[in-house]
Amino acid sequence: MLKDITLGQYFPGNSVVHRLDPRTKLVMLVVYIVALFVAVNWISYGVMFAFLATCIAISKIPVKSIVRGMKPLMFILLFTAVLNIFFTEGETVLVSFWAVEITLEGLIRAFFMMIRILMLITGTFLLTYTTSPIALTDGLEALLNPLKKIKLPVHELSMMTCIALRFIPTLIEETDKIMSAQKARGADFENGKLMERVKALVPILVPLFISAFRRADELATAMECRCYHGGEGRTKMKLLRYNRNDYSAYGIGVLLLAGVIVLKRFGL
């Protein structure tokens, strides 16, 4: 069922991770990703993993739901792994047939690549799992605020992101409904050749687009009725404010990045 997609779903909670300022979490995610790409070896990966595992443990997000969120991404993961196995040149050849060679280096590289992507996605999940879409876009807007100087419509961008996130579950539900209705008229989405399957999508996509436009229209009217006129002079109900936890988090972030860089220096 489409409803089972948990990609980026917010899990309300009251852990330290949940209560962190969204700006902190966004910056931390960037630091984490940079550190992940700096990490090259068993020990540095170990450090990164320990950090991630601690964050998950503190946030009290069930590991099960993180794993379930991974499922739709399995294909990309396997694809990357296979590419790396076959196309990495190395000295220790394990298997060799026809024009293909599988090397030990390739296997190790594929393994690290998979771990890297997995940890990347898990880290991003942790952000969206612990931060409500509104807090997230608020944070994004605050972080991008300096770019207003170069005429970037920061408020509008963050409002758009917020609306997009808000409507994902609605549209998924809608798609589910339309699919059931067309199935009730004998539409078949599971069988047939590629072209037939693509054609079978038309009865879903047309009503879905029409309803998306209708919703957009209604939303625009509702926003205008409440005198929305862009970000100019708009104040926030929930002001973003750093507290002690946020400063500690920044400290940990700096330490993490520095640690991984040092480890790299020593070739670990």
Binding site: A181, K183, R185, P207
Partner: protein
């Protein structure tokens, strides 16, 4: 005569094995006779929609069986697919599922999926357009140029065109004006009479179900709370109200009259009410 549809020990659990586990239907048993008009009433979230989607094989029971003409629709892939066509399902607000360039093509979508030949598709499209009162000119126009009520009728025609033996409708009159409601209801009646079809209709209008149906299924908290003729069901006014359901307005009036001491029996439709009042007047 063997019932056309039988539901045996049907249970359905959503998202089984996750924290979001939720039992929508529990141990449901009932059967539907050929040609019957059945009304399904129940509070929001009582499992009506889930139940309907089982009857044409859109949802698979967690346990229990759906028998169509005595055969389990999940015992064979062919039977499951057949069930889709033999049991037509009209969802809530079906006008949002229209997608084709012309009304004609949209109505033809179902018959086309059945693999019928062109002449037969044409016959069915024209006949079902007639059932719901669409003109030749409307058949060639875009469904998106029609009014809300007309769109709804196009969508219903799209299901009727499959000539299902059982036609299930989920609140077919929701959001329509009184004229539109009457039209839809009489379209359904016309189809039933022409094809001797079985109708199951979910509705929140107690007046409509009291007037139209032969039998009522009352769903409450994923169980069948009552199963009987409108007379039998509506005499349990208090229980219905506890389930968050209503009784027909005329029944309410008569219950009040009786409480005031007039010698009347509760009635369920306007005609019965008028007759009862006339009798009372003449009696005096």
């Amino acid at each position: 005569m063997e019932p056309i549809l039988q539901v045996q020990n049907l249970t359905h659990t959503y998202s089984a094995g996750t924290p979001f586990e939720h039992t929508a239907l529990e141990n449901i048993n009932f059967s539907v006779n050929r040609g019957e008009f059945i009304g399904i009433i129940g509070h929001t979230g009582s499992g009506k929609s889930t139940l309907m989607q089982h009857l044409n094989g859109l949802l698979k029971p967690s346990s229990g069986q759906i028998l169509l003409d005595g055969k389990d629709i999940w015992s064979d892939k062919k039977l499951t697919r057949q069930a889709r066509f033999r049991v037509g399902l009209v969802f809530q607000y079906p006008e949002y599922q229209l997608f084709e360039e012309t009304v004609y093509k949209d109505i033809a979508f179902g018959p086309k999926n059945m693999g019928l030949d062109k002449a037969e598709i044409d016959r069915r499209v024209r006949q079902s357009a007639e059932f719901v009162g669409l003109t030749e000119q409307q058949l060639q126009s875009s469904p998106f140029d029609l009014s809300g009520g007309q769109k709804r009728r196009v969508a219903i025609a799209g299901v009727i065109a499959m000539e299902p033996e059982v036609l299930i409708l989920d609140e077919p009159t929701a959001g329509l004006d009184p004229v539109g409601r009457e039209e839809i209801l009489s379209n359904i009646q016309r189809y039933r009479q022409a094809k001797n079809a079985t109708i199951m209709m979910v509705s929140h209008s107690m007046n409509d179900v009291a007037r139209l149906t032969d039998r009522l299924l009352v769903l409450n908290g994923s169980h069948i709370a009552m199963n009987g003729t409108p007379d039998e069901v509506f005499c349990h006014a208090e229980e219905l109200e506890q389930m968050g359901l209503d009784i027909p307005e005329i029944t309410r009036v008569f219950l009040r009259l009786r409480a005031m001491g007039l010698p009347v029996e509760p009635v369920y439709t306007m005609e019965q009410g008028v007759a009862a009042l006339k009798k009372l007047k003449e009696g005096k």
